[in-house]
Structure formats: structure tokens, C-alpha cells
Symmetry: D2
Subunit: 401 residues, 4 copies
């Protein structure tokens, strides 16, 4: 009997190869190509025809950009989640959503398989498959890169050429990239050797390098409600518009470019350059507002939560009880993260330029040097005497040894 | 009987007032002024005469800059300790050492009291006194700001003028600052209102603003051994020379300037601008090397350790069993943090420009897309099947509800 | 003008002294005695007369036992919060509620002060006052033990005798105790010396010692819904009835008695014996159910949350954003903590005797040695190869040094 | 060319099958059977003959019991490492040592393979292989349970019978057990169903059940130096003798029996009963001493460290940089964990009966109710005013909304 396969499809080299390969290896199968639009910035025009022409029975295009921002990026932003203190999780955060859409289609279509084109070495296969397992454990997964004999892009191209299928990409002329509305990543070429400096001039696509950015700063003001950005420069905008606009401003000013060596899910190291112009601004703004609105203890514990949240997102463990519980923690902390933050963008720098909140815990009287009646200097003595008492007791014990 | 008081003395306004005040309020007391040089960058010439002229019996100047770097800054650097994800702890880290020197002198001199000029509102009184309690619990502390009627700098000046003592500072023309070889902090004036943008042009002293920095980048290469910097641009330098040189380079390029609202030890918020040009470079270099040399799990747990380490340093809890135990953890992780890091300084940016280590865990074969024999793509399937098994089991359980 | 003082009143020695003392020291003040019933197990009969007779204008008795269980004890139970791995927080958890009731009355009565009889050394003053500060920062606190000259119980008795007021307690014949429906604590006498064994025969009031417990075990079955106990031995019972019944069963079987040295809020050590018969059973049952229903990662992170939760409760930081955020985390984890747990109580032991849940993640097929199709043994090889890859890479690096 | 295989050999059913299976499947291979004695309590007499008779070229017996205690158990004990708050890691902690001995022999013998008899479902395969990867990445591993067609003990027996080899165990009459000098674990049979109560009378081997224990308590006094037990009841004993003696005393009194559902390394749940009589006493004694000697902050952070340490040990990640760094942390905390602890063992209970240490931080003056000059009650007011200031500021902010 014919089997139905839902295929994650982009029209790029990898997924173009997958359709004929599936046809050949899963004979009689019906392939439903699904293109999930998370802001890759690629034309989806002509995609359907192309899929069908190469063998798909159907091609479904799902624009989930709004959902991506509000249900995935915002919970991550509220958590200040940063992987290994550097990476804003641009690729990672899109994977569970893409996989969820594949699952949704597979369930609607009563499909038997979900197929993805992630390689057998990287994180993405893990992220995709964990989501499938969590949402539809009965659906089987086909991961051709772990099965077939194709070993490189060159061989993919050859595979297509042999079958007379148009190759959507030239041979070995480029980095390995992943793009969505939140970021663009670059791997490969000179980056594979950590000693090498990254070639920003050649690499960058969303942003200019700091050197190439304008000599005059750009100011931007962001307004947040409960940890979520709602307005930019005084104008209420949709989530998607805020990010797009910030990407533009950030990109122009060369902010949000990082060059890192990170630990993959299974622990091996890889090196990448990431452009996250708008995201980096949002994170900076959000944190600056939190500095006003969160108390010391919450701030300290949230440091632990954000590390764990980032680990989970990085590993594709979005649809897990722990991620949900961490999000509940985070949401509780965001009740008062409401206010405005001004930032100055200048040649790669994001410089705080003032912030305010009606929930601000900053108390001018307490902060200033000369005034204040909320506590007396006398209290400080008592505080120190008790706060330091364990140290004193220990010191006395040591003197008695 | 006459009492001996060891006074933390700098020759600045606060401590200049303290000598006559102590003489008047602790009659018969013998004041030993101690100036601890942690790189304040102030002339110590003439300090002794000044102290004695205003009433001190003695003035001792201790240059502990080397010790400051190796025994305080380095353990902090190795821990990547950053308070509230922003502050490089420039003031905090100096306090335990200053207090330790005061204690050393007090024990040598058989003194009865240690007196400091920290205000009754801030962190420094806590940091000083915790160290005294930890090292010499029997010595009493005099904290005039918590006792006397003087309420402002203006009144301090008045106090001195009344007694015909030269005033070392003009009235109300300035920020409240703290400087040592690691950093310079600024509080007060426009900074007291979080809505205000900081006036960098007016504030900055160690560095130029990013705007004022040169249009051409500066490259710097740092070499580390077990987490400690040993050479700069290929030249072995003393710890002090490395920091001084980096301060110069960093300052010229406008790096290491932050403007933050932080939570003080007791939880109230204060706002400050900090210049840490050399320190910021060192931290960046160190972290970049760690990205090569530390494994994923160590990296993850070290995130928790660095948060706690920073809390302890910030609170003045240096001489505590927990800080020592955390340092033992950190030192263990640093055994392989040996290698070279190149950084590009440009108008406020510190951009990684390649790093290398013989202990690097980066494995080119594993990182690349096309090659590699350390594991098979097949293994990945097994990994994902097991890694995702709990999610699958949970999903099946939910389907059976 | 006359001032109104709300007084935490129990009719015990301390609070009996407070009424005349307040009358004498806050002349013209109107004293509203408030007795908050959290299950102290004392007669409140005659309390009103007694309060008025000794000078109170009014005496209000509030029975908040239900609220105590559902809004304070249950959130703590769901968190598995245990202070320093031993103490079930019996005294700590009652304090915020008592203080909240005082604040409620004070606001209703438009009072100027809240007065409590906690000593100047312990944790309770901190817990009471933190709650007042959090809920009604404008109300002032009177803590007589930090003000008056009375230094001991003997002097309190003397104070009352001088004024012809009946003394509610005999001189120095007893431990210092705190009781509520969750627990009974004992401090003082032989316990003050850590070398001493506690005299259980003399101390215990809620329970018998293990030795004195019956030779036959008692089985108890608890049913939970979302982390909250709802039935005991198959019978739906009110929260209060469950705890009372468990206290009875636990007490009879000598379970839930601990003898510990703990670190007080400010770090000094104190030693106490705590009886928490019902609470200890509830905690054990809850944890056993969690072992079935929570996944590995949630379990692991919850260990960190419970430590922090316990710290906050111990310190009286109940009405804080961090406690609320941690509770949000915990509540999220409890969605599936539904099921039954059987326990065997025997001479101090609580022995699991089987548990079940429709949300159980225990999968018989996976657990057994001989069967199972959820994963193949082959997968294990892949898992180990990837899981161990960082170790292998590191080992290879070391071999190349 | 002939290959050398080092085989983990015990003479039990599994490993008895392995020798002929290896001979048949790795033809020409030379099998070196290695029996690592970690206190399994089995006769090693006759083992060599048996191994050789069934096909091994050599049989090496290594008694590493002392090393097991001092280099593996003690670091774990000092960390108070308990997996999922219950399991004393008896099986887990032995695995890295056993694997290390296998590696040592393999390197000496220049062997090509290490073979172990752990199943393809459990934790032990992971623990063994991680250690091999960490210590000798070039050596290949043979894990027959992941390769062969044998699916059960019954089939193993059949396999042996077919070849005329004596079967060291009767068919299906028993639990799956693992024993060493620290513990004995039981899995299988009625335990596979969580609803079932464990049959202690049938299961237990090292200990009697609480019911069967004597009616009179046994007192035991342990002396520690830097976290390590050095004497029992006043008598200096070797590490091994202390554990053996405590196993005897604990076993007689029914202490240290747990019945748990735990999360395996890859997250599936399994249920086991563990007997750790001596270990449980040691842990209790050690913790009681720590309560006297460790300060509050160290205690709190150590809670996080012990959770992580237990995770690492459970997962077989002993030879990792993180485990070593955590041990460095722990060792630093143990400098003052020196003193004596008395415990009362009674029918499953371990009841503290007094402890003492020259490093005790317990200060009688501070602990008592009536005396004390280390701090004034007045200090408490100042402490609370500052400690509660953030709550007050927040409350004022909310009132101004």
C-alpha cells in the first residue's frame, strides 16, 4: 500500500534532492512537501510547481512567522536565554515550530513518515526529531543523510544532474547558512579553523560590519509590556514589524554579529558567525528594563533559569515539561517588566541611553549619596554585624584551635 | 589609656576629614594612616606629610598592586565572574585586599580600631567590615559616616575649613568615583535618574567614547597559561604590565564602558558607569580561550559558579569558605586553559580574531560538514532514539489518557 | 493623639507581658490583641477576657487553619521544600500568614503599629517583619525584645508578678516550643549542647519515639491531584482533616522526628528537635508519586528550585517575586502529579508500599530486562558513541600533547 | 592476525557465556578474563580455572577494594552525592573503577578490545564505555548484548548447555542483582510493577528488615578527619574495615534499605530496592558533622554541587573535567569536617545522638535564648530594616501605581 511522507521542503539543494530520492527509495510513496515560512527571506513563489515537477504530490506553504515570534521567540526573550553566554539561539528556536507544523500536516494528512534534510552530524536532526517524538510518537522519521551514500554537496549536485533536475545552487562556493526572521548563521570555509579570523566583509548579509556602519549613531526607543515589546520609537507595531524594523536598524549599524565556538548538543565543538541584528537589540533593551524592574534575588535566580532554558532550546527540548515549567517561572517574573528603554546604536555598539518604568524599583532617595529617610545609617551597622556574624564566629573558632 | 586607630587613608576629602574627627572624638587616640595602593593612579607623594600635618601619628603607604592582580583579580578572571551579567566588579574586588592590609597593619601595630570612610548607605562599608570580621574579629570598627552629623560633601568641606585644613577637592563639581588599576566607576549627578542618558564626554577618564576612538582597529594577541595571561602581542609581561598596557589599548579604542543599574548588597538599586578597558579585554580573551578548551558540561556548570562567585565578590565575602571552594572548582577547570587569543579592538567593539590552544577540544573533522570518521551518521540515529525516548514515552502516556 | 497597636497575641508568657508593657510605654495607645489560629492546639477559650483584663481594648481571634494548609503548606509541599535537606519548615511557613493576618487587621482598624513578641536573636522577628514590610510598608513595627530591659523568662515572670498579673507559665521548666498544625519544635535545655543526645522521652509531644511505637506497621494510602492530597485511605477528606489524621497516624508510629543543627537566617547555628508526623508522611508520599510522574530533567532542576524555595520560606521571604515565580514553576510541574501512594509506617520508618498514576512515565516494557520494542539495543551503541564523544575527543587531544 | 580481547569477567551467567561466544565470533582472538574485586562477596577461588576451561587464555584477578573506598567512595561521600535525593549510587560508583582496571590491563597486554557483559538497555554499558573512551579512546569495545541474538537468561543457559558448559545459575528464580562492598541492588520480579510492595523478606540479603531487627538500639560513634571516616567506636580502622563493620551493624539494624523508582541515564524509569547499610550510616554521620562545621552559604551551594555530582556519577562521567572540578570544590569544603558523630541505630532508623568538632561553628552563646554578647538585639533591627528594604521599596512602588 502506498505510504504518505511529509517532507520538510525549502527548494534548496538538500531538499530538492530528497524528493527524487524518496520516490526511488520509498516506492509508491506519496510525498507532501511542506515549506514552513519562518522568515527565511526566500521567494516561495514557484515553489509549489517546482516540488510537484520533481515528484511531490502536493506542496503546502505555511507562513508561521507571527506564531514564531509570539510563541517561540518571545518566551525565549523573556527568559533572556543565551546559549553559552553568547548565542541567541536563532536556528534552535525555529526548529520546534517547523517540526510542529510538519506534525500538524502529517496528522491532517494521515501520513506515515516525516522526512527532513538535516545532516547526521548536527543539532538540527535532534531538534526536529525530538519535537516529532514529543508530539506524534507514532510517526516514523526518515533522515536520508543518515541513510544514503551521498556524502557532500558535490554528490548531491551530481545526483540531481544525473536525473536532469535543475540544481538550485552552485558548487562549493559558499558557507553553510541558516536564516530566519530572527537571525542568519554562517558555518564552513575559513571558519572551520578557529585560528582564522572570520571574513566579515565576505560573510555578512543582514548587517554591515561595524567598520562599514555610519559614523552617526541611531537612537531607538522600545516599549515593553510584561516583557514583550509593543512599540518602537513611540509607534505601536506588530511583533513581526518590530523585529523587521529592528533588523533593519541593527543591520545598518553593525550590531549583533558574533563569532563563536560553541558546544553542540552532543558536546563536539563547532564554530559559527551569527547575525542577529534585531534580536540583539531586543535582548539588550529587555535586560535593561529588567535591571530596573526585577529585584536582586529574582535577578540572581533567573541567571540559573536562563542558562537552563538556553540549554533546552539549544537541544530542541522545547516541548518538554521542564521548558514549560521554566516558562511559567519566567512569565511570573515578567509581570512588572513594563516600560521604555532607549538605546543608542553605533558601529556595533548598543549603548543604554536611559530607561523608565512605573514598576521601577530604583528609588532615587536610596540611590543618592546625600539624602534619604528609608533607612538610617545606623541600620547599616546592625545589618553588617549580623551579616558578618558567621564570619566572625568562624574567625573566633579558628583563633581557639 | 591611649588607643590606636588604623585609618584607611587616601588623602581625599573623606579621609582628610577623618583624622581631625578621630582626634576630637577618640581623644588620646593615636592615628595610623594607611594608604593602600591598588592603582588609584593618585600621587602618594606628600601623602605622609599631609597625614601627619592633620594629626596622624604615622602614615604607612603599601603598594599591593602586584598582589591585587595575582591574588584577587586573577581568581576572579578565571571564574569569569560578572555581577548581574554586566559589572566586572572593579570596586568590589579591591575592598577585601585593602581591608586585609589594614588588618595586617592593625595586628602589627597592636591597634584597637580600624576606621574607614565608607558611607552608611553603600556596599563598601559591608565589604571592608566583613573582611575585618573574618581576619581579626577582635578588632573594633569605626565607621564615622554612620556616627557623625556630617551629611554631605559640603559639610565635610565646611568641617575642614573651620579647622583651617586644606580642602583636597572643590565643592559639588563632580561624580562620585572609585578608581584602581582594574577600573574606574562613576556615580551621581545625571546618573541618579535612570531616564537620563549618561554624559560620556564628561564622564570618561580612562577611555574615550566609541565615537572618539580611532577609525582603524587595533589587534591584540593575548597568551594564557592555566587561565592566566602571560604575554601580550608575543611579549612576556608582568601581570601589572599586561593590565596597564591593556588599559591603554582598551581606553584608546573605547572598549569596556558600561552604564548599568545594579542591585546593591542589600538590594536597593544604584546606577553607575564603569570603565574597565583592560579588564574587559582580558575577560573577552579568557572566555574565547575557554570556548576552545572547556567541555560542554564544565562550561554549563561554570555558569552557575560564576554567578555565585560574582555575588560573593560583590558582597565582600572574599574570605569565606564558599569563595575558597568555588576558587578550587575554578582552578581545576583552568588546567587546560592555555593558548592564544587574538582580538580586534574597534570603536567600543572587541571582536574575536582567532584563537588556538594545544588543549583545544575543537576537532576539525567533527566540525566539518563533509568528512569525519569519529562517529557514524548511524550513531546519531541511536543517540536521538534514546535521547528522545523520555519524550516519546510521555507522548504515548498522554495518548493513552 | 492616641495610637492604635495591633499585637500578635497568644496568651502565653511573652505576649501576656506585652500588653502591660505597651500600655506603659506607648501611653494612650489602644491595643488590639490578635490571636491567629494556625493550629497551635491551645484553647482560645477565655483568651479574649484575659487580653482585655490585662489592658487590651479588643481581642480578635482568627482561625486561618484552612488557609494555612491550602495557601501556604500546599505550595511548600508541591515544591518538596526542605531546608538544609532536613527541616520541613514548620515554624517558618506559619509566620507569613500570621503576619498577613496582623496586617489585615491593622489595615481594617487603621492601626499605627504592629507589635510582636519574637526575640531579638531569632528568625521569627525577621519573618514577621519582612511580611509587614511587603504588605504594609507604612505600618511601624514594635519589637519589645529589642527594646526593653527584660532579658529572660524569669524577668518576664517577675514583671508580671510585680503588676499582679497571672503568670501563664512556670519558671524555667521547659523547652522553648513552637506548635502549629504542621509541626512542633523544641529548643533549649539539653539541646543547646550539640554533644548531647536529645531526650526524646521527655521532649516529644505529638509523637511517640520509634521505640515506643507499636510493633505492627500501619499502612496508609494517599491520593493526590496535581500535587495536592485529596483522599486518605480511599476517603475524600478536607485538607485540614488529612493533616490531622496523618498527624495522628504518624505520631502513633514515631515518624517525622528530627534532631538537627541548622543555620539561622543570619548564619548562626541553632539546634532543635522537630516533630512533623503528618507532614513527613505527606512529603514522602508526594515525592514517591513524583518519582513516577516527573521526568528526569524536571526532577533534576526541581532539586535546585526546592533548595531555593526552602531558603526563601526559611527567611520569611514568602511575599516576594522570587517565591511567586518559583511557585509558578512548581505548579507547572504538578500538572501530572496525580495518583495514589501507599506507605507503611513502622516505628519511625516510612516505607513505600507501591504507587500508581495514570500519568506514570514508568514503562514496564522499557524497565524489564528481557522485552521491549521502544528502542533497539543497537540504538544504545549510537547513543553511547555520541554521548561519550566529548570524552573521546578529549582523550585523543591529551594523547597528542 | 590474532586479536586480544580483555573481558570483564565475574564467573556469573552473563560472563560465562561471553567466553565461548567471543571465541566463536572473534576467531583467533585471545581472551584475557579480568575479574575486578570491588567486594562482590563472591568466591574468586576456582575462577581462573573456570575461565581457562571455558576458553580464556588468561584470568587476572584484581582486588581493588581499598582503592574503591578511598578514591571513589570517599570523594562521593564527601560530596554527599545522592542521586534523585535517594540513591547512594552503589552500582554507579563501582563502574568507572572496574572499567579503569580493564583499561589498565588492556594497555599492559596491548589488547585490541574490551568486552563487557552489560545489557543494551541499562546504565552500566554507558558507564563502562564512557570510562574506556576517556582513558583509552583507541581501544574498541565489544558489547555482545547489543550484537547477539540471545534475548534472555533462559537463552544464555541454553547457549551454555548446548556447548556442555556448566551453568553458574538456575533459571529465572531470582532478581537481577548487583553487589559490591558498598551496596546490593535488586531489580526485577515483583519490583517491575510500581504498584507492588517490595517483598523485603524475600529480597534482602545484606540486612534484615526493620521489623526483624533487634528491639534494642545499637549506638555507633564515627570519627572523621577532613570528611573521611577514620575511626569507629573509638578504634582507628582501615577504610575497608570501617565499611565492613558498618555494613554488619547497619544490616543487623535494618537501616539503609530503599525502594525507589529512578530515572536511568537516558531518562526511562526503573525500579529497584537497594541495600546500603554501612553507606547510609556513613552518609548520615558525615552530614551531621557538616551541619556543625559548614557555614550556611557553603551548605546551600553544596546542595547544588551534590546534585550535579550525583548526576555525573550516575551517568558514568567520573573521568571528566567537571567531576574533577566538583571534587576540588568539595575537598575545599572538607578542610574543617573533622570530629565525632554518635548515632543510634534502631529498626531502620538512624537517629543522631550528639556530635562534636573543634571546628564547630555552633556557638552556644549565640544559640541560647537568654545570653550572648556577640551581637545586640539592636543590631537585629538594623539587619531587618536593610534585609527587608527591597520588599518595602517594592511595596511603596505598588502603592504608587
Amino acid at each position: 500500500m502506498s505510504k504518505k511522507i511529509v517532507l520538510a521542503y525549502s527548494g534548496g539543494l538538500d531538499t530538492t534532492v530528497l524528493i527524487p530520492w524518496l520516490k526511488e527509495n520509498y516506492s509508491d510513496s506519496e510525498i507532501i512537501a511542506v515549506c514552513v515560512d519562518v522568515g527565511q527571506g526566500k521567494e516561495t513563489e514557484g515553489l509549489e510547481q517546482k516540488a510537484i515537477k520533481t515528484g511531490a504530490a502536493k506542496c503546502i506553504i505555511k507562513d508561521v512567522r507571527d506564531e514564531f515570534v509570539t510563541d517561540y521567540i518571545y518566551p525565549m526573550l523573556k527568559a533572556d536565554a543565551v546559549y553559552e553566554d553568547q548565542y541567541l539561539l536563532g536556528t534552535s528556536i525555529a526548529r520546534p515550530l517547523i517540526a510542529k507544523v510538519l506534525v500538524d500536516v502529517a496528522l491532517e494528512e494521515n501520513a506515515d513518515y516525516i522526512c527532513h534534510g538535516a545532516t547526521g552530524k548536527g543539532n538540527d536532526q535532534i531538534r526536529f526529531e525530538l519535537t516529532v517524538k514529543a508530539l506524534a510518537p507514532q510517526i516514523n522519521i526518515i533522515a536520508p543523510w543518515r541513510i544514503w551514500d551521498i556524502k557532500s554537496r558535490e554528490e548531491e549536485i551530481e545526483y540531481l544532474e544525473k536525473r536532469g533536475i535543475e540544481v538550485p545552487m552552485k558548487k562549493g562556493d559558499s558557507y553553510s547558512r541558516d536564516r530566519n526572521l530572527w537571525h542568519l548563521s554562517h558555518e564552513g570555509l575559513e571558519l572551520e579553523i578557529p585560528e582564522n579570523e572570520a571574513n566579515f566583509e565576505k560573510l555578512l548579509q543582514l548587517s554591515v560590519s561595524p567598520e562599514a556602519a555610519p559614523d552617526k549613531p541611531t537612537y531607538v526607543e522600545l516599549e515593553f509590556e510584561k516583557g514583550i515589546p509593543v512599540a518602537l520609537d513611540g509607534q505601536k507595531l506588530s511583533p513581526l514589524d518590530i523585529i523587521n524594523k529592528l533588523n533593519e536598524l541593527g543591520g545598518q549599524n553593525g550590531v549583533g554579529i558574533i563569532d563563536i565556538v560553541e558546544n553542540r548538543v552532543v558536546g563536539m565543538k563547532s564554530r559559527g558567525v551569527y547575525e542577529t541584528p534585531g534580536g540583539t537589540i531586543l535582548y539588550a533593551a529587555h535586560r535593561n528594563l529588567e535591571y530596573l524592574c526585577l529585584d536582586k534575588q529574582t535577578t540572581a535566580f533567573k541567571e540559573i533559569v536562563r542558562v537552563k532554558m538556553a540549554e533546552l532550546i539549544y537541544s530542541g527540548e522545547w516541548f518538554t515539561p521542564l521548558r514549560e515549567a521554566l516558562s511559567a517561572f519566567v512569565d511570573s517574573t515578567q509581570q512588572t517588566v513594563t516600560g521604555k528603554v532607549k538605546l543608542k546604536l553605533y558601529k556595533g555598539n548598543i549603548i543604554p541611553a536611559g530607561s523608565e518604568s512605573k514598576y521601577s524599583l530604583y528609588n532615587e532617595k536610596l540611590a543618592s549619596f546625600t539624602t534619604g529617610d528609608l533607612f538610617s545609617h545606623h541600620d547599616a551597622e546592625g545589618f553588617i554585624n549580623l551579616f558578618g556574624l558567621p564570619l566572625k564566629v568562624r574567625a573566633l573558632m579558628k583563633q581557639n584551635l
